[in-house]
Symmetry: C2
Amino acid sequence: MKNFSLKQCKTTEGFFADLQKMNAEVTMNAVYKRFKETGRLDALKCKRLDIKTHRFWDSDVAKWLEAAAYLLSRWEDPQIRAWYNEAVEDIIANQQDGGYFNSYFQVYEPENIFTNRDGHELYCAGHFFEAAVASKQYLNDDRLLRFADRFVDYIYERFVEKKDTAFTTPGHEEIELALFRLYELTSEEKYKELAQFFLNMRGCAEDPDVFAGSDYSQSHLPVRKQTEAKGHAVRALYLYTAMSDMAKLNEDEELKAACESLFDNIVSKKMYVTGATGSTYTGERFSSAYDLPNEKAYAETCAAIALVLFCDRMLRITGEAKYGHVIERCLYNGFLAGISLDGNSFFYTNPLEVSLEKARYNREQAPAAKEWLPIIERVEMFRCSCCPPNVCRFLELIPSYIWYENDGELILSQLISSNLQGENVEASIISDFPKSGKVCVKVNSHGKKLRLKIRIPEWCDKMFDNAEDGYLCFERAFDGEEIVIDFAMTIRKIYPNSLINDNAGKVALSYGPLILCAESVDNAVPLSSVRVGEVSGASVDLSLENQKFIKAIVPIEYLVDNKKLYGYEKPESKSACLNLIPYYAWGNREETSMKIWFVEK
Amino acid sequence: MKNFSLKQCKTTEGFFADLQKMNAEVTMNAVYKRFKETGRLDALKCKRLDIKTHRFWDSDVAKWLEAAAYLLSRWEDPQIRAWYNEAVEDIIANQQDGGYFNSYFQVYEPENIFTNRDGHELYCAGHFFEAAVASKQYLNDDRLLRFADRFVDYIYERFVEKKDTAFTTPGHEEIELALFRLYELTSEEKYKELAQFFLNMRGCAEDPDVFAGSDYSQSHLPVRKQTEAKGHAVRALYLYTAMSDMAKLNEDEELKAACESLFDNIVSKKMYVTGATGSTYTGERFSSAYDLPNEKAYAETCAAIALVLFCDRMLRITGEAKYGHVIERCLYNGFLAGISLDGNSFFYTNPLEVSLEKARYNREQAPAAKEWLPIIERVEMFRCSCCPPNVCRFLELIPSYIWYENDGELILSQLISSNLQGENVEASIISDFPKSGKVCVKVNSHGKKLRLKIRIPEWCDKMFDNAEDGYLCFERAFDGEEIVIDFAMTIRKIYPNSLINDNAGKVALSYGPLILCAESVDNAVPLSSVRVGEVSGASVDLSLENQKFIKAIVPIEYLVDNKKLYGYEKPESKSACLNLIPYYAWGNREETSMKIWFVEK
């Protein structure tokens, strides 16, 4: 099973095309400018700056370059091309003779190259390698590929041959999946070998814990023995992605089984309803099973992206619908909340609930008395600004998650308006998602018989005759005739597992793939006092001009504040309506409280 | 309105007498031994030790000395008396010529005396002054009183006359209430003057914020302008206690109004159902209104004690029943949870919920990835071990909260088995609290007409003909006849205010003054899946041999784990019984999950 390149599949009109347009017109520029201002681009010249550079700055730039390569293949922008070229020139001009490159270490700590497992050098390298693949594949620019080739040789020599580094495997995984991408592009064995070296060494006796603790960086067990998602969520998910790559490449059933266990562990015990993962601030890590606090959720935007990468790889192995379900959950919720509606600003953390009163109170405290809480307004830049450029490149990658194919089988996983120009097949989709469940699919298989499978979203409760394992199945030759389906979006209640303590007694409200939230700016009723009953009387207003903004109105009851902190009488309740918007759209107006999970009446 | 001394009022048999017996036989010894082992006693010799001493160690010892003075007045123990004498001798022997004493500063940082507002020097001094009052009042030992007198002169000279200290008012309040106790005992004006100096200067322009932030140490406003409880909870409540003392002494209506506002703010917005306060770990502080997380509650044992001190002072001013309600809430719950049933070990933090799975998972993490969570088993000692000796002295002080009197009026506030030998009145109480609501009160007013008021507990839903403002009122001469009352304890549901987000949709279960909790060691049903309906079918087992251990059995439903993390179908529910014990008794057996607030069906 494989997916299609961004050359082959492109969004057309609609929801995701608009997001990609925003990326081209706004986000790519905005992120570049903040990076320029903060010295991240100048750092590539590898000279001492007035500003102290940082050991993971290169990864920020590399992700932007990767995004630029995708973007420039579909959207000419002389300014972005010039910025791209300048950065690429700086990188290749300052690569060390041996092949090493890191704009921080080679300037400030040349003596410490590969001495600190948390130095992020291999992580930065990995992102450069991904940019190299994108440059070559989409712009036919092989400058970064040559840079990567020399850099890989250097890493190979140090880690595999000489073994003279202070650590054996990267503290922050990423390079492994990047090396598999290099291998996929070039078929050069050394890339695969190095990736496999890092994966097979991980958690072995020869890979002692020299950083923050073995769980934290997934070094507690050899990868084939890992079945519970642990530690830093982004690191973990990048690792699992590379593990899936290796499982597929080598048809390694043991590794595949580990990946399946990890996925099942995440989606059955450690994932927010938004697709976010990594619930704790401290360690930015997966917590114990069912520990999913809403207000103190870490839920990094990069983790939502990384979960999609992992699911994409698992789809390539198995073709199973469950991976598409999770990709959809992330796309419309946990990922998309990470960027503002205007494309200019970002969330790093993605709480499922915020209290404006608490946030304001906390803000007034002196540092010594300030609690950690997620921020409640998106910002243009973070000190550690990994998420914004990750959003840029991910927005470009979305079309690659729409279709998957193998011999005689074509899977439509994401119902996104797009055109596909495959080698043996063409297709187009007109999708009304997420405004309605209406989709029109046309496939032309040029007379060849094909098994077409269209994923039935998890939230769809319609019955279909041709449903099988989560897909609508059609088996025939296709000549471009319209297949029209209405998956029928309605407001539905989502029940959490009874072991999620933070959601006990509560329900979330959804509309199709969208998790809904209520903001206090739209509701006079205090959100904690809301009691949700039947939702059959709910209505959805799709007429708002900004198509990203859907408003749902749900009849509720709320408890009247009886002014007693504790009492023996049940507080009185009254009827009202709750106004909800898609979760991804929260925090785009004035400061507000926000809530996803409401007490069920 | 005044209360009675510990000479006048003593517990007899029953619940609190047993706790006092435990204090005499176990706790006082255990705390002393840990303090001895850790160098806290040797530190008083003011020589350099192998162990580094700490700037607030003196306060630990001073609280133990205060407790010892109370204890030795009712219970002869040669060992404790010898320890008491040795410590007193060390203190007076090492007081500086000028009057200053601090076993840390005079040895390790003599140049830094009164340079650091967070140095805890005045806090430690205050605790010595309280010990001095206790020694003089109960043992007729005036050694510490003479020590205190010289020390106060030194402080007065430095802070009031020379004003050559680096700060104006203490960073950690305590000395103010201690000075009022010295004044009450001796009627010497300088004590009152110094207390009033610190109180009146606090939060004024002359008292700049030189520590962790002005809210944190209640320096954001002059005390008469403070109406919202803010900052470090123990500091705040010690301050409010002293403010009440000053309001009463000077009949200062403005200050009294501030105290009433602060009390109302706490009990209507910032107090746990257990009487605990100070909900956030960071800053150990009061949070915003209704922010009362259960699992991450800080809820320091000292704060429960300090809230009783504040309520006691407000009772002395107003005689109002509401202060007695809160004292009762703290006594049986938030305070008492701070000590193990065997009297040997302590909680500093008092969460209202713990998840064993989460605690264990967190424990396995490396420090860099470890979240802050309250501990789940009491320990004998803390690095900052303020709570254990505070428990010791507070257990001795309990009889002083039973009765209050003024001209012609006698208030019975706490229904505790005890004998009172007042100047004009004698009384005895036989109370079955907290096993049942039965109380037998005998008062002898020697033929004099008296207005006797017996507080009707908040949880009592019986109607009484002679009820007035929360009291049962009797007005006549009393000659020792029995007044028998049954306040009728039953299992009742407590509803939280609808604005407490963490308790939305939930109820707590209570039996009389006891907040109940369920431990996973007693329940096969996962606590997060419990749904509480009607409690009329609940039963209480009072037959357990340890009278501190009451078991309640409440019929409930629970949700069956459907193995889905999120689903569109409501999980199935089944009937079961929930076993509950008093909250104060939690965490006394094996490691367990624990919960107070349950989803209401």
